[in-house]
């Protein structure tokens, strides 16, 4: 409620301007270190969280970097395999890869040579 609207009997108890200023100054002087501690407390909390979270962030970054490298490596390998001259040759002649060239098996060099000679046209 606005002071001007206080009942008269309460107006009589109001502090005079000097008392008011003295109280205000004392309160604010006493409050200053407490408020400063609160401000520092917020900064400390932010710094503390940053300290706690930085190793986690580093670990997560490493994991993602590893995953990205691995994915890039496998894509490069598959492209290299697809461009292998023997395979391209086979495709050009419209022939399918022999069973000996199964995806999961590693073909023996003799088998590869045999296949190449057999598929060579006249």
């Amino acid at each position: 409620m606005s002071i001007d609207r206080w009942p008269a009997w309460l107006q009589a108890l109001r502090p005079d301007e000097l008392t008011r200023r003295r109280m205000r100054r004392t309160i604010l002087d006493e409050a200053a270190p407490l408020l400063a501690a609160r401000r520092d407390g917020w900064l400390d909390a932010v710094a503390e969280w940053a300290t706690i979270l930085s190793p986690v962030a580093a670990a997560v970054t490493l994991i993602f970097a590893g995953l990205a490298l691995r994915q890039a490596g496998s894509r490069e390998l598959s492209e290299t395999v697809a461009r292998a001259p023997a395979v391209e040759e086979l495709v050009r002649h419209g022939e399918s890869v022999p069973a000996a060239f199964g995806r999961d098996s590693v073909p023996d060099l003799d088998v590869v040579m045999t296949v190449l000679y057999e598929t060579e046209g006249p």
Binding site: S2, A8, W9, L18, T19, R20, M23, R24, I27, L28
Partner: protein, 199 residues
Amino acid sequence: MRAPRDMRSPESLVEEQALVRAVQEGDDVAFGALVDRYLDSAYVTAMSVLRDAHDAEDAVQSAFIRALERIDQLKPGSPFGPWFYRVLRSTCLNLRRREALRSHEEIPVSAAGGRDPDLDLQRELTRSTVTAALGELPEMQRLAVTLYDLEGYSHQEIAEILGIAVGTSRAHVHHARRALRRLIRAGGDGHADANEPVE
């Protein structure tokens, strides 16, 4: 008739909650604004409990500092006023218990001011009449009528601040106003007649 509650309008309460949040983060300007809002009413409330200018001053200062120390206990969205008056009341009661252990001579507040002796004397006479009248009332009546007339709190809010029933708050305010009117008229010797509470 009750006066409008401009300090308790929804806009004012929203603004006050923003001030409280800022104080919780250590904003000294916001704390100064909260002090400005409640300094006069806190002093009057403390005067009504302690009836001594110096004790009231000490109590108000301590209450603001205690409130600042505990401001994190104020639930988000809760109004600052009723919570602060609870802190103030508890501070006043603690101070009175301490003061009961030692007696001291009162120094009139006007002695420190000394700007207009006639005005100060008149003010001091009125103040002492009102203070003496308040001294005749039981403490709960004093606080109830002060909070009702000072801050425009409802009986529900006063009941929460003082930890009493709503009906008891109503009765306290009613009896206090009647008693104050009678006491100020009898003890005022004229100068406080115009200051009687208006119902």
